[in-house]
Symmetry: C2
Amino acid sequence: MNSPPLRVVPLGGLGDIGRNMMAVEYDGEMVVIDAGVLFPDERMPTGVDFAIPNFSYLRENRRKLIAVLITHGHEDHIGALPHLLSEFDVPVYSSRLTHGLITVKLRERRLISEARLNVVEPRTPFRVGRFRCEFFRVCHSIPDAMGIALGTPLGHVVHTGDFKIDHTPVDGMSTDFSALSELAAEGVALLFSDSTYAEVDGYTESEQIVGDALDRAIDEAPGRVMVATFASLISRIQQVVNAAERHGRRVAVVGRSMMNNVNMARKMGYLHASEGTLIPLIEASRLPLEETVIIATGSQGEPTSALVRIARGEHPDVEVVPGDTVIISASPIPGNETLVSNTIDNLFRQGASVLYSRVALVHVHGHASREELKMMLSLVKPRFFVPVHGEYRHLAAHASLAQSMGIPSSNTFVLEDGDVLELSGEAGRVVERVDAGHVLVDGRSVWARESRVLDDRRRLAREGVVTAVVTLDVDGGIVKPLGLVSSGFIELDESQELFEKTSKMVAASLERDPPGSLDLNQVKARVTEVVEGYLYRETGRRPAVVAFVERV
Amino acid sequence: MNSPPLRVVPLGGLGDIGRNMMAVEYDGEMVVIDAGVLFPDERMPTGVDFAIPNFSYLRENRRKLIAVLITHGHEDHIGALPHLLSEFDVPVYSSRLTHGLITVKLRERRLISEARLNVVEPRTPFRVGRFRCEFFRVCHSIPDAMGIALGTPLGHVVHTGDFKIDHTPVDGMSTDFSALSELAAEGVALLFSDSTYAEVDGYTESEQIVGDALDRAIDEAPGRVMVATFASLISRIQQVVNAAERHGRRVAVVGRSMMNNVNMARKMGYLHASEGTLIPLIEASRLPLEETVIIATGSQGEPTSALVRIARGEHPDVEVVPGDTVIISASPIPGNETLVSNTIDNLFRQGASVLYSRVALVHVHGHASREELKMMLSLVKPRFFVPVHGEYRHLAAHASLAQSMGIPSSNTFVLEDGDVLELSGEAGRVVERVDAGHVLVDGRSVWARESRVLDDRRRLAREGVVTAVVTLDVDGGIVKPLGLVSSGFIELDESQELFEKTSKMVAASLERDPPGSLDLNQVKARVTEVVEGYLYRETGRRPAVVAFVERV
């Protein structure tokens, strides 16, 4: 008798960097790995806050869904949990710090009382339905990052999460080679592995290099030092604290998310500082500049962050003075390059000396480069391979890397979100494609990607809008003059004459038909057509035209 | 008696990468070096085609302006010439290829018959007013790139243009060290030097490395090769032609700007190909795939370019087949990263093997790195130094490089556009700041950066627009129901109930005042306020609200 196939359905993160979500099904039971958001870039309409995975497939398979497993606490892996949990009553499993971050997030959304959150220790197997699950440590740019192994009758399914191989990590927790070797010995059917840096040769440098660079920079700085980094990058914050302590400086933390994270990390034991090292900003401002370090949010140039306000001279408590050294200990996420550049420029303008990843070794990222990816493949020895986390070219690069190491191309699958891959013991194929398009979140609204509203906004952004107001009298004749009002189309002083002429054109066109012979929709269509045509001829532009027709 | 000061006024390119323009004045005579455009990035409002320098200062000093000198033929150095020449009747001086490119540009705009264009040979001094001008060769990513020296009583003013130092350039034309040495020997008062890569250590690699990589890739490709690069990068096109000839392939050129440039460059002797190498696409399509190379536009992911249409499967004549090798021989200009990434992803999806600058050495850029910048400073030995071409941090990095080489910080000026620097023989200072903000070009409109229209568009893009139409009867009472119509705000099926309620809120508010007691503007303000407030409370969003008030 044939055993049922293993089904794998990526619902996010394959073709994008972010919005990670992978469904794994066996014999009527489904677990989901990660539930992240994708932050907007220029491909998303302006005004959108972020994108989340499309839950249609989960809705259709609601009864199968038995658990959500989370690899680590970054937004692109946990950010969609509030949306997911407000719709699905399903238990969540994560490591300890990740659990802390999820708790904060759900509490903000008042979802915490309903949530079934479980803390998982690494190398401690637990059952979810008939799946035997085990988390194992990986190195990444946040503590307590995990890979996940699911036992199935076909063999283990191993998901690396986001990882790199760092033999000298700040927290001393390396990627767990022995766990990987043991899984390999038991037999791995399928490996999902992080492809974010699959284009980059060699090894990703160790956090230790950054520690050395920060130490030197803080040692040599003639005045105050400000360090901006990701609020979640606890290990980097630890490095700054260590360097500050070595060189007799106190540390103040600025920015709400940074303060929250530092407090939580200290309480949970992920961040260590001697008594008196961390002080409030107000105390730091009374010390000589050369005895202080400020750690701030804003490494991505986020407009309301501490660093950006400092760079603009708009922060209430911190002002740049010549002699300050600012270290941007992060690299810009694609899409944020310009915001970060502007911030660096502004800091230079204020007289600071600025160190950033392009000119100094003050940041390394958290993803494996090609040699590390090979190491992972060598350790895990999977029968089937699905590269995850990356745009298509990253997945393609990772797949050909795997093939160069002997995994047959028939066992390597470059999937896209929504592809349903079925694997038997010996072969696999994509059997269908389900809806996994972007779902956009804007304030309280949630939109599928193809929204009329969003299309309209794009047009409004390019050319503005003109509203034409037509009032018909009881007989269907038009009450003159026709009214036109615009926004984002033309300067006020240019518009009057243009609008008067347009109004006449519309009136002339409508009067060609006997009063009352056109219904409201016909009048609307006619007004739109005449206004669009005339404005294009006169200005070369095509604003959105909205016709409003009313009867007296 | 004191001699008059040398005045230097950057009108573009200091604080931005692009829109280059520098005014140099002495004793009532002014020359302008370069007149470029800046292509839009996310800082510019959607819908804007490009930015040009602000000509206010030139208008105010119209009588002083005696010449425009152009360093090379890239858009960020010549793109604003049509705007400049339609306003100022001034002679233009450039090298031969640059002259060809300017001619094409002015002919398209029907400005050629009026223009006074002059071709300048390198190392051949000529007079412009009392300035002795001399052009000298520099290496850059377009042939016939020049630096410019202006003789003044204070000494030479030397402008490098965009440059790098390449000892093995494709066209054999190196940066002219002897010209620079001779100028130095005569005494250089002021150096303007290209700062675009002032953050990057070491040397920019030679074009030769790219030639080798292209040769190997074309040799090893199992099928057809497509190469995308900048249409102006004639030397790269030459390298592809050379490699194709060596490996028995014919070359077809696709994309209008690429075809125009190839034709012009061949006619003018800047591109060499054996008889029969360059063939029309239709002929190439009859040859075995492995005997062809296609050179195409689209290296920046431009939506209407040949490569992008090919990648999307939308090109009428070229379809990707598995076995094709696509080489993106360019790196993305900041702001184009996502467009380029999408194109690469689409090519992989179509089954091509893709080589691009992140994974293969198929491109080097045209700007000097730090060691080359030091070489320039060492050769020229200027008394004063003004870094040009770059964002503020690039200029700052270049300035501190110059200081590390012994130029006193009091003689080094990190300027921004609009700063007026006056130099005497021994000292310099910024004496004032003139208007040099962006001027945005959108179709037939030209806007200063602070435009109400553009602000409105930004808001429309984020939240859409709601127009409220209020009709007052003869007594000033409102005719109910109030009309609301929106675009880009909310889906149609959600809007009806919301708008009915909003309408009632407005009516209730207006009826609190006796009919006729509010004037039209007061009614408008009230309507806007009530609609904005109510919609925000109900939806959490703030669309632009346009009130239209009319009387029956």
